[in-house]
Symmetry: none
DNA sequence: CACCGTTGCGTTCATATTGGTCATGGAAGG
DNA sequence: CCTTCCATGACCAATATGAACGCAACGGTG
């Protein structure tokens, strides 16, 4: 099967270059072009489509200088451009996710993301394509059954777990993250320990990991006797 | 949460009545209207939208007298109608599935289908909506994380219709499911092993499959020394 | 002003207990 | 009789815990 032609739409040059480089590292994908804003993206897609090389997949940043990502998706559909879309955004609003699904967004990436997450989403998209191309064990050319379609949808939406550093478990990390998200102010490791019923060592290890990843910020708390206590605060400001 | 307003678009009167009856039998859904062809469907949606009662989900037959289902979807997007779509078709062509996904089709039903299949698709769609409405275990209003979005997308899968992975048998799976349904609280893999008289490996394999399918939730149990024990809890209350 | 005991958290290590995987055995079907 | 498939037992790897040690700031005291 030939490579899937991908268009990168991203206003920040550094991020755009990074995404393009990611595409190059992945088998089965080819960079078809790059655009810094919505207008040029639409123009570029129209040109490529007229040239017989239509874009098949768009990596679409939702936060662009001229148009919102959702508007671009709507205009694409209105113009007869039916490339699939993977949305990239720092906006963590769920109602946007719903609107995105309604306009045909296939995957949703939240900044900042690692290369592993990125590659994972693109791979599952390619698998979705391949399953539609060659259905079932029965044979090619035959019609698709309900289970064939279900299977293709499943590989599209299935989340796959990312490799975590040694010594950390996914469910524990999720628990700590959820707790931190709910806390308005800063919390200490001991408070996390008590709230989640885990040991101080474990709580601190996960908080430290989140601090290194940039998801939480870490400051020292003075004023009380004893060694200064680290306090952690949910930050996760975009990118 | 209020009911989801559904529009049925189907040219055959018998099928249309059947779909409408199906909707009535399902909790959480309300029939917003019914249309026999594309033009009237679009008109009806526009009217309801203007009346402040926009259609949220469309059961869209792809084979209509005046317009093809894909055309209707495209015109919906062009007109600013962003209801989600469940496509219903007898046409078993996979390239249509791909185009359908690009226009925001959420699920795909192939005729003829049973009520069970139908209900399953609608239930998974409702679960998708609910997960977007209230992310995480306790937090409302907080931002969504990548895993939250992934989980919501995952609930658009149809686990019951998927073929069982290698190494699992249907009868054993049923036994584990029945046992889990009866348990009010959380149970560990060891408890399932002892209760059903199977080996720990087998119990864990089936519980893990159910956890991936979203039928049970998996959390860690802290407080005791040693590696944390996974405990599983029946979570799919929607069925 | 300098020094020192106190205090509480950060850090490290061994340990306990479970999860995950591999190859084997037995049963069902052809 | 052979093949295929699933459950099993045993091994190795993983991960939270508890205790012990060290460190940094506070608050007296000389």
């Amino acid at each position: 099967m030939s490579d899937i032609r991908v268009l990168v739409v991203e206003d920040e040059p550094i991020a755009a270059a990074a995404h393009a480089a990611y595409i190059g590292r992945l088998d089965g994908f080819t960079l078809a072009g790059s655009a810094p804003d919505g207008q040029s993206a639409l123009r570029l897609m129209t040109e490529l489509s007229a040239a017989g090389q239509p874009v098949e997949l768009v990596l679409l940043d939702m936060n662009l200088p001229d148009l919102h990502g959702l508007d671009i998706a709507r205009r694409m559909r209105a113009s007869g451009l039916f490339a699939d879309i993977i949305a990239i955004t720092a906006v963590r609003e769920l109602n946007i996710v719903r609107s995105a699904v309604a306009t045909g967004v296939v995957q949703y990436l939240i900044k900042p993301f690692t290369y592993a997450t990125f590659a994972d989403k693109l791979r599952s998209y390619r698998q979705f394509r391949e399953q539609l191309a060659s259905p079932g064990p029965g044979g090619a050319g035959a019609g698709a059954s309900q289970s064939d379609v279900d299977q293709a949808f499943a590989s599209l939406r299935a989340p796959s777990e990312l490799p975590l550093p040694k010594g950390l478990s996914g469910s524990t990390l999720e628990a700590v993250q959820d707790f931190m998200k709910q806390q308005a102010g800063a919390v200490s490791a001991s408070e996390v320990m008590e709230a989640l019923g885990m040991s101080r060592v474990t709580a601190r290890r996960y908080l430290e990991y989140l601090a290194d990843a940039g998801t939480v910020s870490r400051t020292a708390r003075y004023g009380a006797p004893g060694r200064p206590e680290n306090e952690y605060r949910w930050s996760r400001s975009g990118s």
